[in-house]
């Protein structure tokens, strides 16, 4: 099909793609190249001067950056696996045709996806207040003996952010798995059952390998999303207009970039360097996940 185009058709092809390509060049490729260039510049505001690797050196000496990096990776390492496993379990359970109330359950678990990140963050902030409804419920059920300081303790603040993201995105991932499960031929399971393969083995030997590509896709998407975590930590754990509290325990890389650019005296070059840390992390982790999925 590559050779079947007339000269005229080839030009038409460019005409159809031109608006998108021009806009992408202007609002994506040009900014990306510019931020790469910026990351070698130092100075405040618009007074740039060439700094070579000064920004990269500054990264290694900046405790706030290292803290934000650590927080972001902690969220990633704990939240993404929990959510992917939960979503898989829900999807497999909901895929059982004999389950009663499937449609209701599926809709309910998917419902969090319709909320904006800001709205759900505000709801979580109010539910997890010190004497809020969540602490009340946990006290009532005797799970805890005194209220958990969700937003004032560095450890619990991290837990809260992880709970919140898991609430918002588990149903989203589940829908991908449900769609993939429906594409698996049921006779495979039937045969396995006849051959006496136990349920657990069916899950690990049939379901997981069959869903490998979707699991990879959702893991990469979640990794990219979590590395850019911003809305939640700028709302749930924000007070007096400053996010990432308490004591920067929930400060993420994106929030730090935002602070460096729009809250403090702008340090564009350094902020751009940190944004490239995210780019490199996304690249490395996606590559690692692809490798892992291929080997299995």
């Amino acid at each position: 099909m590559h050779t079947g185009l007339t000269r005229r058709e080839n030009l038409t092809g460019w005409a159809f793609t031109a608006p998108a390509l021009v806009l992408l060049g202007l609002f994506m490729i040009y900014p990306i190249l510019w931020s790469l260039y910026m990351s070698f510049m130092t100075g405040k505001g618009m007074n740039f001067k060439f700094g070579g690797f000064a920004n990269i050196y500054r990264l290694t000496q900046d405790p706030i950056f290292l803290h934000a990096l650590g927080n972001t990776l902690t969220f990633l390492a704990i939240q993404v696996p929990i959510m992917i496993i939960l979503a898989l379990v829900f999807a497999v359970a909901l895929n059982n045709p004999r389950l009663r109330g499937r449609a209701v359950l599926r809709t309910a678990i998917f419902l969090p996806c319709v909320t904006s990140l800001v709205v759900y963050s505000v709801l979580f902030k109010s539910m997890f207040a010190d004497d809020g409804v969540v602490n009340d419920a946990l006290l009532f059920l005797h799970i805890i003996s005194e209220p958990i300081p969700w937003m004032n303790d560095p450890f619990w603040a991290k837990v809260l952010i992880i709970l919140a993201i898991t609430w918002r995105w588990t149903g989203y991932n589940m829908v991908f798995y449900l769609a993939a499960l429906q594409n698996i031929d049921p006779s495979i399971y039937e045969q396995a059952r006849i051959d006496g393969v136990p349920a657990r083995a069916r899950f690990f030997k049939i379901t997981i390998p069959m869903l490998r590509h979707v699991i990879l896709f959702t893991t990469v998407l979640s990794t990219i999303g979590t590395l850019q975590l911003f809305d939640e930590v700028n709302t749930i754990t924000a007070s007096q207009g400053q996010g990432g509290r308490p004591a920067d325990a929930t400060l993420t890389l994106s929030l730090y970039i935002y602070n460096l650019t729009f809250r403090f005296m702008p340090s564009f070059g350094y902020a751009a360097t940190i944004s490239w840390v995210i780019v490199i992390l996304v690249g490395l982790l996606s590559w690692a996940q692809f490798r892992l999925a291929r080997e299995k």
Partner: protein, 268 residues
């Protein structure tokens, strides 16, 4: 043993469903309670609904804010649909070696996070004097790589015979696209429209950067600024939450099947 596991699984699912829905119920009962009751954990309908509503409309120029939200979401969605479907159609129907390479390059760009473009974009728009404008809000999102990919994938199912027949009838290329492709692909457009509308409606970081005055803010940004005030009043914030969620929840329940299709669209 198997029965027990199945019972446990069912209980787990209903618990998960309850946890998923609870914040919505919390939002609705919260709208009827006072700020103190809300942070005090009261989960019963109260009597403060009208004062909350009154306070919300007193503090927020609701007409302006909703106009901003709808204007930005609808214009942004329409432009993205046109530009991205044109490109997806062009890449698929007029596939050539060069254009396939360009397309592969675009897919690589898909993994570059917004953070890497945010600062230059802000500097670009502020030096063009376009900060705090609808253009700054909408323009960067119009060409969406994800949507181009989605439309190219779906164009594979567009019957070639239709195009051939139209050409025999003497239709020009743009006429084929406009009068044949778009009507035939309407369910593809519908699914994309839902996703784009929600994304635009819920956008936060970029609007937060480029919008600076209250009269330009969307409802999503208004919720955020009410919630990060020095002394947030949760009663009126819950009203704002309900109003901010209503359009997306309506879209979801009216078009649930299409919505899920749109979400899965790119990975088919």
């Amino acid at each position: 043993m198997n029965r027990l596991i199945s019972l446990l699984a069912q209980a787990g699912l209903w618990l998960a469903a309850f946890i998923s829905v609870f914040p919505f119920l919390w939002m609705i009962t919260g709208a009827t309670n006072t700020a103190n009751d809300i942070t005090g954990g009261r989960f019963l309908p109260g009597t403060n609904l009208l004062p909350n509503i009154a306070k919300f409309f007193e503090l927020v120029d609701a007409g302006q804010v909703f106009f901003n939200s709808f204007f930005v979401a609808i214009t942004g969605t329409a432009l993205t649909l046109i530009v991205s479907s044109l490109a997806g159609y062009g890449f698929e129907i007029f596939a050539s070696k060069t254009r396939d390479r360009v397309f592969a390059g675009l897919l690589l760009l898909l993994s570059v996070p917004f953070a890497a473009m945010m600062i230059p974009l802000f500097v670009m728009f502020s030096s063009a004097g376009l900060i705090n404008s609808y253009i700054a809000m909408i323009a960067p999102g119009i060409a969406s790589i994800f949507m181009i990919f989605y439309f190219r994938q779906n164009t594979k199912s567009f019957p070639h015979e239709l195009r051939d027949a139209a050409k025999l009838d003497g239709l020009k290329e743009w006429q084929i696209f406009w009068f044949i492709y778009i009507p035939v692909m309407r369910s593809t457009y519908a699914a994309a429209m839902i996703i784009l509308f929600m994304t635009n409606w819920n956008a936060y970081l970029w609007p937060l950067i480029v919008l600076q005055t209250n009269d330009m803010k969307t409802i999503t940004l208004t919720v955020a600024s009410l919630a990060t005030a020095y002394t947030p009043d949760y009663g009126l914030i819950m009203i704002a939450n309900v109003l901010a969620t209503l359009p997306t929840i309506l879209v979801f329940f009216l078009l649930q099947r299409r919505f899920v299709e749109g979400m899965l669209g790119g990975v088919k």
